[in-house]
């Protein structure tokens, strides 16, 4: 194990934070060990399932592969931030209403990706939704409900913008 520790300073869910970590640690490990955030989770450990998805500088990344050291100076957002104003994000609300999860282990990743999709494309078609979420796996296979939830959230967000 390396003794060359890295000093990190970054913005985590809107808050300036610091951590001193080993250089081989992933952002996922640092979120978990240093900040007690468990919403992003390691499952496949290879960046193939999407359970560990977090947003770094506006880009979704696989937290299990993304080295923490690379987040120095960055803005990091996790699922825990989506209801920071005390209200659920429309995508969270839609996931609940559509029953878009069973065990819930993959849900944070799907939420982060879906939210990202709607920021880039407020009115996605069903194939666009499927394409965007194709890097996320749900072993309970709540896929039909997930697609419905993204559509519902998109519709609500558009209505809110129009109003």
């Amino acid at each position: 194990m390396s003794e060359n520790l890295v000093n990190l300073e970054f913005t985590l869910n809107g808050e300036r934070v610091r951590a001193t970590v080993q250089p081989h640690l992933t952002i996922l490990e640092v979120l978990r060990n240093e900040f007690g955030l468990y919403g992003a989770r390691e499952s496949c450990g290879q960046g193939l399932c999407g359970c560990c998805t977090v947003v770094v500088n506006g880009e979704t990344v696989s937290g299990c592969l993304y080295l923490a050291a690379m987040a120095n100076g960055a803005e990091v957002t996790t699922v825990e931030h989506l209801d920071a104003d005390g209200k659920l994000d429309p995508i969270q609300q839609a996931f609940i209403e559509c029953g878009a999860f069973q065990c819930g282990f993959c849900t944070s990743g799907f939420l982060m990706m879906s939210r990202q999709l709607l920021e880039q494309n407020p009115d996605p078609t069903e194939p666009e939704i499927r394409n965007y979420l194709s890097g996320n796996l749900c072993r309970c296979a709540a896929y039909p409900e997930i697609v419905e939830a993204v559509k519902l959230a998109a519709q609500r967000k558009r209505e809110a913008t129009a109003a």
Binding site: Q46, F105, L137, Y143
Partner: protein, 767 residues
């Protein structure tokens, strides 16, 4: 003021969101995966590299010297706290760490402990083990008669009376031979107008719950006590088994389970708990044993099977006799395999009314990772065989496959092959509804040119595992609010919500206001396990009885106080009167075990083999490219009989979830072993599970109108039913489209292409 009373006349049958929904969308849901304890050590496992071998030496010296390593242990160390370190629900055959021998590649041999999980893992690479390699056996049919024996002697656990006769058997890999005998099968075949004989196989697959298996063991504050935080489907069994291994009273072991990130049978009985418990006692520190996704593949799998089925049919298309031989590839340790062999084995002749039946079902040890329960508990494997066979018979006799099934399906009131008379099994109705959803009688567009279309249906049934016990407690506080104590594990099936709906139904309280306590063996009472779609039925009854008991006690209290009994939601008024302030509880308890007659050892006959039958049917349409073998499932209709749906919203997602999971097993999932038993694809990079692009665009799901008359509120389980009919329906749809029959799972495009080539007499080489 909080509203305790019901805003709804009934709770059962309401489509409501999960009680834990907001926790799951905010990332705050409590999985065992999240748990970190002060001074916790991480354990990493060193695993066998040979499929069968005697351990000559294990050199752990370099690993012990590695930076950051706290300790390295082998089975000799485990024996210091667990003198007989062998566990298992059916057989006490599985060592916590390998003892003397290794029996599959990936078997745990030694373990490294460190505060830093990376330090522990790095040190595992410094362990060196020497083995004297022994011949190994991998195929279940070969192993049944092989001279290579995985175990020297069978060691049934004694938990199940019907396994006791196996004790001490030597020189065999057959860990259970279960049989059913009914009528005169030889005579039926001698007199048959048509005889059919086919063999179907299924592959080994893994559940891959996205929360990989994890257990944290924590020495108790008082000496001689222990707490296990574990992602387990069976907290009560874990407590009993750990207490047995330690020679302790049950109440010295506490088992706590949070929400599970998926289970599907992988987290049943006992997996990492014995190792974690031993390590915590050896180190006197909390120890976390957490597997990677890769390691899960070496821990538990679904049985690969070979199923030979022979059928005698009369001139008018009635099945008159059937012989079934099923070989279950059990892997190196029995786990719950013998129960799968029996409980699914006795349904191997299918949901058909057959006078003459013979079934032999063999659980066979091999030098591969252990096999256990996997969503469906063996049923999908046997349905694949008997429904594929049904389609082949119907084709040969030129009978419509739906009509052939209706002609032969069991009706209520008729005896099943075990002699148990069918009741509340909506077989005909489920098939009818699948056919109607498929527009079966309408003309079907078969495509043109290289793209051809076909369709198929399949139906299966499952006997609920019996006899098993559930207990529950319901407590009303002095403000009238309600808490339910149950050891059912919520692994995504929304059992907390179903429990709240059922308790709320009896008590007249909205389910959303009820709190369901997660399993903690210090406070939640015994439950056999969360498996086999048993909880709705068993725990449902226990919760119902507990709630009724609370109501009775409420009435007694009202009588005592001379007050009207009124509604349970107003228990608070009675308690305040009784105790002079907001104090006290009303506690109701419930326990449930259904009646059962164990099958005769020689004939498998029983007048009551199961409390109920769960039914699932599937219809598919496929489009096949005749030039490449590529195909697409265009339509996917799934119908189940689950009695009364407790929470229709969740039932719907259970149906499609089960069907899609089975689609993965049918179409692409396969653990690939090389010829020395090394698994080649233990990761999502090479082991494909269904993703969002793999699901058909048209997925239908339906529950038929039915009542399970002995069920709680007319209900029975639903978590597995939609898995049953999927695989064979796809195989039939492919034959319907292009005239080739696939008899081995998975049905890959390559398999279809090979079959196309073979059919035109240009078979491809195996390379």
């Amino acid at each position: 003021m909080n509203r305790i009373e019901a805003g709804h006349e009934h709770q059962v049958g309401r489509s409501i969101n999960r009680l834990e929904a907001s926790a799951k969308v905010t990332g705050r849901a409590g999985y065992t995966h999240n748990l970190t304890l002060p001074r916790m050590l991480h354990a990493k496992i060193f695993r066998s590299t040979v499929a069968h071998g005697r351990i000559l030496s294990i050199d752990t010296s370099a690993a012990r010297e590695a930076p950051g390593v706290f300790a390295v242990y082998t089975s000799e160390d485990i024996r210091r706290v667990m003198p007989e370190p062998f566990f298992g629900p059916a057989f006490h055959d599985q060592p916590i760490l390998a003892v003397d021998k290794v029996r599959y590649i990936g078997e745990p041999v030694a373990v490294v402990l460190a505060s830093d999980p990376h330090a522990a893992e790095e040190a595992t690479h410094l362990i060196y083990a020497e083995y004297e390699e022994l011949p190994a056996v991998f195929n279940e049919v070969d192993a049944a008669t092989s001279g290579v024996h995985v175990h020297e002697e069978l060691k049934p656990a004694g938990t199940f009376p019907d396994l006791k006769h196996l004790a001490g058997r030597k020189a065999t890999n057959v860990a259970l031979d279960f049989r059913v005998r009914r009528g005169d099968v030889d005579a039926a075949f001698a007199q048959a107008a048509h005889v059919f004989d086919d063999t179907f196989t299924t592959q080994r697959v893994m559940h891959t719950p996205l929360e990989p298996m994890v257990t944290v063991a924590e020495p108790g504050e008082n000496a001689g006590t222990l707490t296990l935080h574990t992602a387990s489907q069976s907290p009560s069994f874990v407590r009993i088994e750990i207490a047995r291994l330690l020679g302790w009273a049950e109440n010295r072991v506490r088992v706590r389970v949070g929400l599970l990130g998926g289970g599907f049978g992988a987290k049943l009985y006992i997996k990492l708990e014995a190792l974690a418990a031993a390590l915590a006692l050896l180190t006197r520190r909390p120890v976390r044993v957490a597997l990677s996704m890769e390691e899960q593949f070496f821990t538990i799998t679904k049985h690969a099977t070979t199923f030979r089925i022979q059928t005698a049919v009369s001139a008018d298309g009635l099945i008159t006799g059937r012989r079934c031989e099923v070989w279950w590839n059990g892997g190196a340790y029995a786990d719950i395999g013998p129960r799968v062999t029996q409980k699914s084995g006795f349904t191997a002749s299918g949901p058909y009314d057959i006078e003459n039946v013979s079934i032999d079902s063999y659980q066979v040890y091999t030098n591969l990772p252990p096999s256990g329960a996997f969503r469906g508990f063996g049923i999908p494997q046997v349905v694949w065989g008997y429904e594929s066979h049904a389609d082949m018979i119907a084709r040969k006799l030129n009978i419509d496959p739906v009509e052939f099934r209706h002609r032969n399906l069991l009706k209520d009131g008729r005896p099943h092959a075990t002699g148990t008379v069918m009741k509340d099994a909506a077989l005909h109705l489920v098939l009818e509804r699948v056919a109607e959803r498929m527009n079966w009688s309408a003309p079907f567009e078969r495509g043109t040119g290289v793209m051809r279309r076909g369709r198929g249906v399949g139906i299966g049934f499952k006997a609920l595992v019996a006899p098993t016990t559930s207990m529950a407690m319901v407590s009303l506080a002095a403000d009238g609010s309600c808490t339910v104590y149950s050891s059912t594990v919520d692994m995504g099936q929304a059992s907390d919500t179903a429990i709240a709906l059922m308790a709320g139904e009896v008590l007249g309280i909205d389910a959303e206001t009820i709190k369901v306590i997660h399993p903690d063996t210090d406070s939640t009472p015994y439950d056999m396990a969360t498996l086999g779609s048993r909880s709705t039925f068993h725990m449902g009854h226990a919760v119902r009885l507990a709630a009724e008991d609370a109501r009775t006690k409420l009435r007694q209290l009202a009588d005592e106080l001379g007050m009207p009994a009124d509604q349970p939601a107003r228990a608070g008024e009675l308690l305040k009167r009784k105790y002079g302030m907001q104090a006290g509880n009303i506690v109701g308890v419930g326990s449930f075990i259904p009646p059962y007659t164990k099958p005769d050892h020689e004939t498998g006959q029983s007048d009551n083999i199961t409390p109920n039958w769960m039914v699932g049917g599937t219809g598919v349409e496929v489009e096949v490219d005749t030039e490449t073998g590529q195909f697409k499932v265009l339509r996917f209709e799934n119908v189940v009989d689950c009695g009364t749906p407790i929470n229709p919203k969740v039932v719907d997602s259970q149906i499609s979830g089960a069907a899609i999971m089975q689609l993965g097993t049918a179409l692409f999932e396969e653990m690939e072993f090389d010829d020395v038993g090394q698994l080649r694809n233990a990761s999502f990079a090479e082991y494909k599970i269904p993703g969002i692009h793999d699901i058909p665009h048209r997925i239908g799901r339906e529950t038929v109108d039915s009542i399970q008359s002995n069920g709680p509120f007319g209900a029975k389980g639903v978590g597995e039913s939609a898995t049953f009919g999927v695989a064979s329906a796809i195989a039939e749809a492919i034959e319907d489209a292009i005239g080739v029959r696939i008899k081995s799972l998975p049905i890959t495009p390559e398999a279809v292409y090979r079959a196309i080539c073979a059919a035109r007499n240009e078979p491809l080489s195996e390379e």
